[in-house]
């Protein structure tokens, strides 16, 4: 067991995109360490590479260079299917556009990662229901996304992220599509799961008042970390 509980460690992480003949260097060597139970906001102007970093941390993408350890495992060299397994077990995504399946009920949406995790039908149902309950949606299990408000949809997405008890919650502009009141509400949910469960949260945002909820802010600029500071709530 790693004594200092390092959950995420990257070493000179780079990611290049080939755009025709030009090579766009989205990340130019990122060294980052995130401990268990941290609540980190990644900020930066558009084009700074924060989405790229997010995709790499989330194992949706593989780096062009450098190394990445998640929970002690080097994931930078893994195959597609191994990455899928890591995403399923270790990571819970919360997206700006919610990314719920439109035709499925809340319950089924939350069950989805458990289906891919091979959990049997009964446990799946119980765990999904419990996750929805904990996000205050116990009475919305049979509703489809179109029958829910924006805030409720994002809560379903959070329930879906939590249901597998992942190592990290990765939130990509989680309040980007919400009004300020609902945003506050969602931020409370994040703060709550971070404090009560010790859930590690990494959140990408460009809004300062949203980043203010995090306890650590990492600024990216031109594919490199330009500042990294702790802040008190």
């Amino acid at each position: 067991m790693n004594q200092n509980h390092v959950l995420i460690r990257t070493e000179a992480l780079t990611r290049d995109y080939e755009m025709g003949v030009e090579v766009v260097r989205a990340l130019r060597g990122v060294d980052l360490e995130i401990q268990r139970s941290e609540y980190v906001a990644i900020m930066g102007p558009s084009g700074s590479g924060k989405s790229t970093l997010m995709n790499l941390i989330g194992c949706l993408d593989t780096p062009s260079g450098g190394k990445y350890w998640l929970n002690g495992l080097e994931v930078s060299q893994m195959s597609d299917d191994e990455l899928a397994r890591i995403r399923n077990k270790e990571i819970g995504f919360v997206f700006q556009t919610f990314n719920l399946l439109p035709r499925a009920t809340s319950l089924h949406n939350v069950e989805l990662p458990l289906i891919y995790g091979g959990v049997n039908a009964k446990d799946r149902r119980d765990r999904a229901a419990a996750a929805l309950e904990s996000c205050g949606l116990g009475d919305r299990m049979g509703h489809k996304p179109s029958e829910l408000s924006g805030g409720q949809r994002q809560r379903v997405a959070i329930a879906r992220a939590l249901v597998t008890e992942p190592s990290i919650i990765l939130a990509d502009e989680p309040t980007g599509n919400l009004d300020s009141m609902t945003s506050e509400e969602i931020m409370k949910v994040f703060a709550d799961i971070n404090e009560r469960r010790g859930q590690t949260i990494v959140m990408v945002t460009h809004e300062h008042d949203i980043a203010a909820h995090a306890r650590r802010v990492v600024m990216l600029h031109d594919g490199k970390i330009s500042s990294d500071r702790q802040q008190t709530a």
């Binding site: 995709n55 989330g58 949706l60 993408d61 597609d80 299917d81 899928a84 397994r85 995403r87 399923n88 077990k89 995504f93 997206f95 990314n99 719920l100 399946l101 035709r103 989805l112 990662p113 289906i115 891919y116 995790g117 091979g118 879906r160 597998t164």
Partner: protein, 414 residues
């Protein structure tokens, strides 16, 4: 993802997009309908020909000696061959008498001549009824039972009595509600006394077998059916199949002797058996069975292409969904399976509907036309396999494309 989940998901998707699903399964549907429909009818015909037709029309273990074949099996004969057949000597009553006395008494020998003539009773008239001039053994050979009255006796045949046995439909037509026994019927302008009504012989291909008038071959009917002393056919019935072959050999020997044929010379007479008709039918059904796979194949290929296109469309429409599923931990094979199962579900559903519809169609044909139908379990099995096969084959490419999608790009897809 377990297969069960994938199947549930696929049917959910089919339910959600009913119209699109319907169009995509129509190819498999038509192909299978066709397959089942045709196989059912051909199969029905086959059973019918073998079990019913041969027995009803020719009788069991029976052959008919004729001067030439009635139907030609296979190639049409050339003009010379046709002329040679025309020139053959006709069968004579003397031939019948010779065969009756010389053949082993185990074998029943009869004679038959036919024509279509006018029949009149009072004011009722029928323009064309089949009359047969036969020997008294004919009823036993053809297994014609008598419903009312009796068959003719040997003295009646010897004296050429003008008596007739009529078919049940003739009785109904001319004597509706009356007892025809003892009444008179005019056949080709000559009066005959009705002594019996035959039990119904049923139908083949919708044609009634009960429209006939049977008189002794020695009666006035002789003038009507054939030139003097000539008969159409001499019928021989044996107790079993080996007996039939033996009878045939005996008849051949007797006839060759009567016709003074030298060894090496061809027979100038013809044996007609159920085999002739059955082999003719076999050649037709062979053609049908060779054409069938091609026809079914074409519609299944078209059906497969339709499904492939619909699935490709579905993959691009649901790119974002695929991205979400991948982000949540779906592996390539999970996505592959999902789309493959969906394509297979579509085509199998099409095949299942095709099976039901094909059977329905066959029974409709059975009910409304003389063609008989009989569903074969084999064709259903083949249809199911084809349905599944078409789905898998046409689903592979779209499903592979879906499985290979990059999660980041797929999630960003609008």
């Amino acid at each position: 993802m377990p297969l069960f989940e994938a199947v549930r998901l696929a049917f959910g998707m089919i339910r959600a997009q009913k119209l699109k699903s319907f169009f995509s399964l129509i190819g498999a549907f038509i192909g299978v309908t066709f397959l089942i429909g045709v196989v059912t009818i051909v199969n029905g015909m086959d059973r019918y020909m073998k079990e019913d037709f041969a027995g009803k029309l020719f009788g069991v273990n029976t052959f008919t000696l004729r001067y030439r074949p009635f139907v030609h099996v296979g190639e049409e004969p050339s003009r010379e061959e046709r002329r040679a057949l025309q020139r053959r000597p006709r069968l004579k009553i003397a031939d019948y008498e010779a065969l009756s006395s010389e053949l082993d008494p185990r074998f029943l020998v009869g004679v038959e001549s036919m024509n279509q003539v006018e029949a009149v009773v009072g004011t009722k008239r029928s323009r064309s009824i089949e009359v047969r001039g036969v020997s008294e053994s004919y009823f036993r050979i053809k297994k014609i039972d008598i419903a009312e009255g009796r068959v003719f006796s040997q003295p009646e045949v010897e004296h050429g009595a003008n008596v007739v046995v009529i078919g049940s439909e003739v009785a109904e037509k001319f004597f509706e509600g009356l007892n025809p026994i003892g009444r008179t019927i005019r056949v080709a302008d000559f009066p005959y006394r009705i002594i019996g009504v035959a039990a119904s012989q049923g139908k083949i291909f919708g044609f009634s077998l009960d429209k006939f008038i049977i008189a002794p071959y020695t009666s006035q009917i002789e003038r009507v059916v054939n030139p003097h002393l000539v008969v159409d056919g001499i019928i021989v019935r044996a107790p079993d199949i080996p007996g039939m072959h033996e009878a045939r050999t005996q008849v051949e020997a007797i006839m060759r002797m009567r016709r003074h044929l030298r060894p090496g010379q061809e027979n100038n007479f013809h044996f007609e058996t159920a085999d002739d008709v059955l082999s003719f039918w076999a050649s037709i059904s062979r053609i049908l069975y060779t054409a069938l796979p091609a026809l079914v194949g074409i519609s299944l290929v078209v059906g497969g292409i339709v499904i492939m296109n619909i699935m490709l469309m579905a993959v691009s429409e649901r790119t974002r969904e695929i991205g979400i599923r991948k982000a949540l931990g779906a592996r390539r094979r999970d996505i592959l399976r999902q789309f493959l199962v969906e394509a297979t579900a579509l085509s199998t559903l099409g095949a299942a509907l095709g099976i039901l519809f094909g059977i329905g169609l066959a029974y409709l044909v059975d009910a409304t036309t003389p063609l008989p139908a009989s569903v074969s379990a084999g064709s259903i099995l083949v249809a199911v396999f084809l349905g599944v096969g078409v789905g898998v084959v046409s689903g592979v490419y779209p499903a592979t494309r879906a499985a290979r999608l990059d999660p980041v790009a797929a999630l960003r897809f609008e």
